[in-house]
């Protein structure tokens, strides 16, 4: 019951989070290049409220705040890397959609390679074996 109440509270909080007043002031870019840079950057960054959305797409109030923070930093002449490390220092690597290659993410980066190699090996092994199998030649046409 307590667990349920907690769950309900979490659920309600996620609904209410969307109800905070949001500054709808649009950002004004100096030039199209700047806007493109902003779009690329916010697409690579995660909205921490709606965790499967990026900052560019999210309508959560925090995403608005972070977008205007990023915009201000761009206006102040900060590089993309400086802006990213500003966010990582506060929210952790989780804010990046493309996680860095480091100790705790190695499995994430290497798993696809190993899965591909493993799958490839199984396929090659299977084909070789099928070729050797006697009696298969007569009905090879079935495959």
């Amino acid at each position: 019951m307590k667990r349920f109440a907690f769950f309900l509270a979490i659920l309600l909080s996620s609904i209410s989070a969307a109800q905070i007043k949001v500054d709808q002031e649009p950002l004004v870019f100096d030039n199209p290049q700047q806007q493109e840079r902003f779009n690329n950057l916010t697409e690579e960054l995660r909205c921490l409220v709606c965790q499967n959305q990026n900052l560019a797409d999210s309508d959560a109030p925090l995403a608005h705040d972070l977008r205007s923070e990023i915009f201000d930093m761009m206006q102040a002449g900060k590089t993309d890397d400086e802006i990213k490390s500003f966010l990582i220092e506060r929210y952790g690597d989780f804010v990046l959609y493309r996680p860095p290659v480091q100790g705790n993410t190695l499995v994430l980066w290497l798993a696809p390679v190993f899965l591909l190699l493993g799958g490839g090996a199984v396929v090659v092994f299977g084909i070789r074996k099928r070729k050797i199998m006697p009696g298969n030649n007569s009905d090879a046409g079935h495959y």
Partner: protein, 179 residues
């Protein structure tokens, strides 16, 4: 023989992955804070009841304290409220309320309805300071050491278990080191 078992092994492996994924997803919202072990972010914010007076992180040096991010718009804060009140009444830890992205009038009404457990309340109207804390929802709580270091962070409602099993032992330890 081995090739017969291969699909079964692959299936078992997938099963294990699924089990791990399901148990880990429970902690998905617990994003580790890079702030642990680092100085508390600087702030200088107006107080809710005396907006002309501000409080900064330096005003709290010398004793451990808890910064609790809350807002009148946040139902989980209502759920958390009795726990915060109990902790404040125990007198074992100073609790600083940080009113996050809220209208001061709404915040005051909320406090008069539910009671004000906080020793101090500061207001982050724009949410800028909360970004420096890496806050992304309310409630969130940060335990700060007497020398101004972030020692613990909790996302979501605090429970009496977390307070008695994690926060208060840390507070006692800090107080022991101090004396």
């Amino acid at each position: 023989m081995i090739s017969r078992l291969l699909p079964l092994m692959a299936f078992l492996l997938l099963g294990i992955l699924l089990a791990v994924g399901l148990t880990v997803s429970d902690t998905k919202t617990h994003i580790p804070s890079p702030l642990i072990g680092r100085p508390v972010p600087e702030f200088n914010l107006p107080q809710l009841f005396e907006p002309e007076k501000t409080l900064s992180q330096e005003d709290f040096l010398g004793e451990p304290y808890l910064v609790n991010f809350w807002g009148s718009w946040c139902p989980t804060c209502v759920y958390e409220h009795p726990v915060i009140t109990d902790l404040a009444r125990s007198g074992r830890l100073r609790i600083v309320g940080l009113n996050y992205r809220d209208e001061p009038e709404d915040a005051k009404n909320w406090l008069s309805r539910h009671g004000n457990p906080y020793h101090d309340i500061v207001v982050d109207y724009s949410g800028r300071i909360s970004i420096n804390f890496g806050v992304y929802a309310a409630p969130e709580s940060f335990l700060i050491s007497p020398d101004g270091e972030v020692v613990y962070k909790h996302i979501g409602a605090l429970t009496s278990e977390i307070i008695s099993q994690t926060i208060l032992p840390m507070v006692d330890e800090m107080k022991r080191e101090q004396s």
